[in-house]
């Protein structure tokens, strides 16, 4: 089976920072659902940003779906991200002045997948137990729980092969959190999506195939 995610000798350092994060080798197989955990400041979000192409490594190679993702031009990386990667943020990051439908359609628009959007949106709204009239409501007017589910619908609308999820349950109570995890895993299974789930809450590891500690992957070194 071809790995969905491969990292080789990847090193990243923020500008003006004296610490560089390095990962010598790591791979995630296609369809795998990984729980990535680590304490605050350990570099979880940095790793997700590297995988989403939001950050570029200073050295090394990131391959996604067999493609040398980190070597792509900025424009091609944007396109690749739109078509193959879904991202769910801790703050959900919906565009508050747009309707749910428009928020989701934007993701499809940038991926160049403009057909059957409404059908897919209806499907995800149903799967995520959101009433259908939510589609026409402004994202800024939704409850936190609803925003979170819309963020998942937006991340999945293009049927991405890789889904990166960053601490999405931090604002939820236990019942809501469990319901959310069940829905998320079910949707990923439906499309055999590779899931990289980042959280500091290790109790969530039970929903995923395996758990990886960031400290076992990456090492920080001081640089001058």
């Amino acid at each position: 089976m071809q790995p969905a995610i491969e990292l080789h000798n990847v090193e990243h350092r923020y500008e003006k920072s004296h610490r560089a994060m390095g990962i010598s080798h790591w791979q995630v197989n296609s369809g795998e659902r990984i729980f990535l955990h680590g304490p605050s400041g350990s570099g979880k979000t940095t790793l997700l940003n590297l995988l989403a192409g939001i950050l570029e490594p200073n050295s090394g190679e990131i391959k996604l779906l067999g493609q040398a993702f980190s070597s792509l031009s900025s424009k091609k990386r944007d396109k690749f991200r739109a078509r193959h990667i879904g991202v769910v943020f801790q703050q959900f990051n919906l565009v508050p002045h747009l309707s749910v439908e428009k928020n989701v359609s934007l993701a499809a628009y940038f991926a160049g997948k403009k057909t059957q959007i409404n059908e897919r949106l209806d499907h995800y709204l149903t799967q995520l137990q959101l009433p259908s009239d939510v589609a026409h409501q402004q994202a800024g007017h939704l409850s936190v729980g609803q925003q979170q589910r819309v963020a998942i619908a937006r991340a999945l609308i293009n049927k991405p092969e890789i889904l990166l999820v960053d601490e999405p349950t931090s604002a939820l109570d236990n019942d809501a959190r469990d319901a959310f995890m069940t829905m998320l895993i079910s949707l990923c299974k439906e499309d055999n999506t590779t899931l990289l789930f980042v959280s500091h809450d290790q109790s969530l590891a039970q929903y995923l195939d395996s758990a990886v500690s960031l400290s076992s992957l990456g090492k920080y070194r001081e640089v001058s």
Partner: protein, 411 residues
């Protein structure tokens, strides 16, 4: 999708967008109205006289001749003989000739001596003949026809008596009290100097300057325009309409070389253009002021967009995450600027159309400005195009700012 996003984004920042829109609306309106009035005023100015092929007077300068014969401004330097007028009237190339005799006034309004040809042939605007709002053309020596402004300002009506003064001042101590004129007609407004003119016959001009004894004899037969006592010896100028336009230059050359009298023939169109050229500096000052107003508003637009970038960093970062390239974000900011400028231009054109349509009559009657309410012409479209391009150019700074904004620190 981009357009829909831009519209929605602008709506979400409605307060600052509305203020920027109003600022642009005002500056675009100033620029468009100045340009429209300038063009229309030039057009209106050039329509003061229409259908006249040549104006003939004593040699002075073409602007001077044009100013006193058409605009009733300044003083004639010299007269031409009445024989020259008759020669012109009888020339085979000439279809009609209008004599003009100036030098007197009535309460600040110029008095012009002429004949019946004036009412039959003088045209203004789009070759419109003079029409009467009341009364008829003069037929007697002491009849007068007044322009619309004279009637309105002095509250005159048909049947009233007017006394003409010697000279051109508003106040004169040398009135022709012994030869009062009776108003027999009031002309409809034209928006030209005709409105500010008191028209009398050439015979009337001669009569009021006669010694008392001879004047008394003329007053005994006031309807006799052919009375030898009131036949003019000289007049100020002549307006000519030719049978063929092709003969204009030949006749002009011939008249300028005429040996029996010192004549100068000018082409009204050329003199008008030269006269208007002198006003170009005023035009340019107005234009520069309106462009500066526009530039300041465009900088306001750029500032508003730049200021909004801070509020929108997250929104832009989300777009980038969803796959929008830097170019798309750059274009989005330009589209927003374009939408505001387009809306301001469209509303401005609409509002100015309504304003000009409402003030059309007032501008014509009070200022002699015939301003069309139709702003949809090539010139307006070119200015609007330039405004939109300028809006795009000034929005490049915030657009580059958005393009360069780092995603990772905003999410």
């Amino acid at each position: 999708m981009l357009l829909s996003f831009a519209t929605s984004s602008l709506r979400s920042r409605s307060k600052s967008v509305v203020l920027t829109f109003l600022s642009l609306l005002i500056s675009v309106s100033v620029l468009l109205s100045v340009e429209h009035i300038r063009i229309q005023a030039e057009d209106s100015f050039k329509r003061t006289v229409s259908g006249v092929d040549l104006i003939v007077g004593a040699p002075s300068g073409q602007l001077n001749l044009m100013l006193y014969s058409v605009f009733r401004m300044g003083s004639p330097t010299n007269n031409i003989s009445y024989d020259s007028f008759e020669m012109l009237q009888n020339d085979a190339l000439v279809e009609w000739a209008i004599p003009i005799s100036l030098g007197d006034s009535h309460r600040g309004f110029r008095v012009m001596g002429t004949n019946e040809s004036y009412f039959a042939h003088y045209k203004y605007g789009d070759k419109q003949l003079l029409t009467f709002s009341d009364g008829v053309p003069f037929s007697g020596v002491f009849d007068a026809v007044i322009g619309a402004d004279v009637a309105a300002t002095l509250n005159y009506k048909v049947g009233d008596k007017v006394v003409i003064a010697h000279g051109l001042g508003a106040v004169s101590f040398n009135n022709h009290d012994a030869s009062p004129f009776t108003i027999v007609g009031i002309l409809a407004p034209t928006g030209t100097p005709v409105d500010k003119t008191v028209h009398v016959s050439l015979a009337g001009i001669e009569a009021m300057h006669l010694p008392k004894k001879q004047l008394t004899r003329v007053l005994q037969a006031p309807d006799n325009l052919n009375n030898p006592l009131v036949q003019p010896d000289s007049i100020t100028a002549v307006m000519l309409g030719l049978k063929s336009k092709f003969a204009t230059f030949n006749l002009q050359r011939a008249l300028n070389n005429y040996e029996d009298d010192r004549l100068m023939a000018i082409l009204p169109g050329v003199a008008m253009a030269e006269l208007w050229q002198m006003m170009r500096s005023v035009e340019n000052v107005l234009r520069v002021i309106s462009v500066l107003v526009l530039v300041s508003s465009l900088f306001g637009l750029a500032t508003m967009l730049l200021a909004s970038m801070q509020q929108r960093e997250k929104e832009i970062a989300v777009l980038r995450i969803l796959g929008a390239s830097g170019g798309v974000v750059f274009t989005l900011i330009l589209v927003e600027a374009l939408l505001i400028a387009l809306a301001a231009s469209a509303v401005s054109i609409g509002a100015l159309t309504v304003v000009f349509a409402s003030l059309k009559g007032w501008l014509a009657s009070h200022y002699g400005l015939f301003i069309s309410a139709n702003l949809m012409n090539t010139h307006t479209l070119m200015i609007t195009g330039a405004i939109l391009v300028a809006a795009i150019v000034t929005s490049i700074i915030p657009a580059v700012d958005a393009y360069r904004s780092a995603i990772h620190s905003r999410l």
